[in-house]
Amino acid sequence: MKHESVPIYWRNIPQYYRLVAKRCKKCGAVHFPPVVRCRCGSKELEDLELPKEGKLVEFTVLHQVGTDFLKQKPLVVGLVELSNGVRVVGQIVDAQVEKLAPGAKVEVVFRRVVADGKHGLVMYGYKFRPVGL
């Protein structure tokens, strides 16, 4: 058990579970991860849940990973553009890599991200999965 921080996980649950971003009420810019001040200078920001589908911009298959992912390698990770144009990075799961290409349709899924040993917290979060591949 590595004693992962419970408060850090807990406070990020809206983002990890539902991709809750911030939208600037003044200029409409959407920020994910959330920010406290928009680039336009406004601090008037509201929560916005990002759409749950999008397309793959680019991906790579990562073979050198940290301790949390040693038993899951290789990890397919990539950049995804959601249907409202907001881009998010994340793992691509259930993918047959040879069929994967930029432009592939993906959906947001809910997965385990890190388990804190056998006795600690199981931490969940969003990942992406190809649709119709």
């Binding site: 058990m1 649950i13 809206p14 579970y17 539902r18 849940e49 749950k52 038993k71 899951q72 799961v93 259930d94 047959q96 899924v109 809910f110 997965r111 385990r112 991200v113 040993g117 056998k118 006795h119 199981v122 969940y124 990942k127």
Partner: protein
């Protein structure tokens, strides 16, 4: 006032292992095993999936199909026997993952494979009482079977979520009837990794007595006869049991067959009968009556009768993946990959 199933959502992990691959490892004759259980292959969860993630996927699909504001769901129940935590609810994770309000009744239920359907009873009760607008139950499992033991040929992974309400009912509940007794056919002790079972004892005194007891009790009490039902769905620990239960009740094969999924994905425990039910809802027509009888070891059954309404056609056209879609969408794994994905290889903590 109609109360019933507003929406359903199913999730089957993408990975499959063939019965012959498991039999190869344990020195069984695959043809005999397939013949005994009528399970060709079973679903396997991905390395980053568990009963929680499966429940979330099924529940999200149910909400998507319903097209309702998740904040209107006032109760959420998770029925499982493969909780990642002994203590810490799946249902509260569902609350935040689905974006429900915090004013929600939530609990995880345990009654072997019956818990998810018991959640349905509880949700219906709250809706009928006017306590909540919508209620949700999820049957979810990554079920365990000791490697090399016969349970391993069927224990599999999947989840089904049902949303109950008064508005937009796609399958109205007509009747429900329960049948429960202390029958120790199958159990898993606290801290034990795999369940134990009584082999043949799981049949007559357990599965058949309770399924038939609930189905017959319901038909007698409410005056149904087998010919009333367009579809009949039983808990399906293997391919033979539901077929035999049907014949014991004089229900023709064609009514039971559409709801049988165990042959392709194995026994998803709390999602087993509900998966068959979801598959039937994917194709049912207005006016169809469905008899649904889940079973949980230990032991008990609930028998439900639903009448499909016009709304079902709308729900069938939402683009949410059907059970049939998921039965086709698969990646085969070998036994070593299966052990890895199911986290059954001993690693450093």
């Amino acid at each position: 006032m109609k109360v019933g199933i507003v929406s359903w959502g199913a999730y089957i992990p993408k990975y499959r292992i063939r019965t012959e691959e498991v039999a190869r490892i344990w020195g069984d004759d695959p043809l005999r095993i397939v013949d005994v259980y009528l399970v060709d292959e079973k679903s396997v969860e991905g390395i980053d999936e568990d009963a929680v993630t499966i429940a979330v996927e099924a529940a999200r699909r149910a909400i998507r199909r319903a097209g309702i504001d998740p904040k209107k769901i006032g109760a959420v129940y998770a029925g499982t026997e493969s909780k990642p935590y002994a203590v810490k609810p799946i249902s509260s994770i569902l609350v935040d993952a689905l974006g429900l309000s915090n004013n929600v009744f939530a609990v995880d239920m345990e009654f072997a494979c019956k818990a998810g359907s018991e959640g349905l009873v509880a949700a219906i009760g709250l809706v009928k009482a006017g306590q909540v607008e919508y209620g949700m139950t999820v049957g979810t499992d990554t079920s365990q079977g000791e490697p090399g033991e016969h349970l391993e040929y069927s224990a599999s992974s999947g989840g089904v979520a049902l949303i109950v309400g008064r508005d937009g009912v796609a399958a109205e509940l007509e009747a429900v009837y329960s049948y429960v007794s202390d029958t120790p056919d199958f159990w898993r002790r606290e801290g034990s990794p795999y369940p134990m079972h009584g082999e043949g004892f799981t049949g007559e005194p357990a599965y058949f007595r309770h399924i038939i007891g609930a189905a017959k009790g319901l038909m007698e009490k409410y005056g149904y006869k087998p010919s009333d039902f367009a579809y009949v769905v039983f808990h399906q620990p293997n391919g033979r049991f539901p077929v035999r239960a049907a014949s014991m009740l004089n229900i023709p094969m064609e009514k039971i067959k559409p709801g049988i999924v165990v042959t392709h994905i194995g026994n998803t425990y709390n999602a087993s009968a509900l998966m068959g039910f979801a598959k039937v809802l994917d194709v049912a027509k207005p006016g169809d009556k469905i008899l649904l009888v889940p079973f949980g070891s230990g032991a008990g059954s609930n028998a439900f009768v639903f009448t499909v309404t016009d709304v079902v056609q709308e729900r069938q056209k939402t683009g949410v993946p059907t059970v049939e879609d998921m039965l086709r969408d698969k990646i085969y794994v070998d036994y070593a990959q299966y052990l890895k994905m199911r986290k059954m290889i001993k690693l450093f903590d």
